[in-house]
């Protein structure tokens, strides 16, 4: 367990605003900021090869949950469709939430766009239809209701990162807040 965390069997919900409900027929996942913008419809995303990671997750509000099971598309698979030389990304979401990540943290089999949790379709309150899953960082980086990535040359703070939370958020280094 990372320092300062406690175990829970529940799956607490934290979000800064209302739960969005975007119809699947209007839903897309897009990657902007590369040579060409690329986007997938819901059916196209679901047709991509998926993975079923089992991972521990760690929330900055101090709960950790072990051995959670997910299904989704590796971000590596999505980025393979994009020509780019960016080093950072901002994930953007329904509801206006954003979070920033170095591409190093999104690639190499460490991050997914997840649409199933615990064997079921992902609940809206937990980020469904799809959320980012970046389990090696605090869970606010695993943006709920994710709709795409905007590739950047420089690291630009997202929503919580502009509101007092750490730019990177590594739980093993306890990077919770500004200055940690």
């Amino acid at each position: 367990m990372p320092p300062g965390q406690y175990l829970t069997d529940d799956f607490p919900v934290l979000s800064a605003g209302p739960t969005p409900h975007t119809p699947l027929e209007e839903w897309t996942f897009s990657i902007q900021g590369g040579a060409e913008p690329v986007s997938w419809t819901w059916d196209e995303l679901r047709a991509l090869p998926s993975e079923e990671p089992t991972v521990d997750i760690h929330c900055v509000t101090r709960w950790s949950k072990l051995d959670t099971t997910w299904e989704g598309v590796s971000v590596d698979t999505l980025l393979d469709a994009v020509e780019h030389d960016s080093a950072y990304a901002v994930a953007f979401c329904d509801g206006g939430y954003t979070t920033n990540l170095p591409l190093e943290d999104l690639t190499g089999g460490k991050a997914w766009v997840a649409y199933r949790y615990g064997g079921d379709e992902l609940d809206p309150e937990h980020g469904g239809p799809a959320r980012l899953l970046v389990p090696h960082l605090y869970f606010w980086k695993s943006a709920k209701w994710v709709r795409g990535l905007s590739l950047r040359d420089e690291d630009e703070p997202g929503f919580w990162e502009s509101n007092g939370y750490h730019l990177r958020g590594d739980p093993w280094l306890e990077q919770r807040y500004w200055g940690d």
Partner: protein, 240 residues
């Protein structure tokens, strides 16, 4: 962010399950209404437990936390049942820059609290009084019974000032004889009666359990509120 030693300066039993702890923390940098802090307890054997708690006091007032006992909790039973004046613990903060009300905007504010979700909203209500804001502010508090209403006397006093601050109570489980307030959980009809008109573009702060927050936020969106006006803070089942 560094840990500060805080001494419990005063203890006030709000309800059978809820207590307010006033803390004297040398070096505390001050906070905004709605922010929270991290609290750390260290046992004699060195075992440490940390939790986040909302700050109940207005900016500039002595730091106060209001904590509800969660029976299977590791930290809250100590804070609610055992902590005494003079006990020491550690805090760091303040934390959070979004679920805050600074009082520098003219539009009405609608605050919606489920149970102990009232705590950060109380900081905003106290701040409203302290800065003598004339901006309309309405606090909707959902509690199980009258005995479970946190800050009841003080809310009555704040309402009596007639400065644009109002309180609406709903008691969801049991009501005293002669109760004229609401008697049910927050629903779209209740919200349509207590919410400011959407045309006034109110700022909304909702704090409570996930189910409570979703019911309130969805009801307001149904009433024509923009999702972007609504700021939420949720307690998980094991939130703290």
């Amino acid at each position: 962010m560094t840990w500060l030693t805080a001494e419990i300066a005063a203890v006030n039993q709000e309800t059978p399950r809820v207590r307010t702890l006033e803390l004297a923390a040398r070096g505390w940098p001050g906070h905004r209404a709605g922010q929270h802090l991290d609290l750390r307890l260290t046992a004699e054997d060195g075992y440490q437990a940390q939790r986040s708690y909302s700050i109940a006091s207005a900016p500039g007032e002595p730091l106060a936390l209001t904590v509800e006992r969660l029976d299977d909790g590791e930290v809250s039973p100590y804070l609610v049942d055992e902590a005494r004046e003079g006990d020491r613990l550690e805090v760091r903060g303040p934390i959070g820059g979004y679920f805050v009300w600074d009082g520098d905007e003219p539009q009405p504010s609608l605050l919606i609290a489920g149970g102990s979700g009232v705590v950060p909203l109380m900081a905003m209500s106290r701040h409203h009084a302290q800065i003598e804001s004339r901006a309309p502010m309405r606090l909707v508090v959902s509690s199980r019974t009258l005995a479970d209403v946190i800050y009841r006397e003080e809310l009555n006093r704040l309402t009596a000032k007639g400065d644009g601050f109002e309180v609406v109570h709903t008691l969801t489980r049991e009501q005293p004889p002669g109760w004229t307030g609401y008697t049910r959980r927050i629903d779209p009809e209740l919200l349509s009666e207590v919410a400011f008109p959407a045309a006034e573009a109110p700022r909304v702060y909702v704090c409570g359990s996930t189910r409570f927050v979703d019911a309130a936020a969805d009801g307001l969106i149904e009433a024509g509120y923009e999702p972007g006006w609504i700021r939420t803070e949720r307690f998980g089942a094991t939130g703290s």
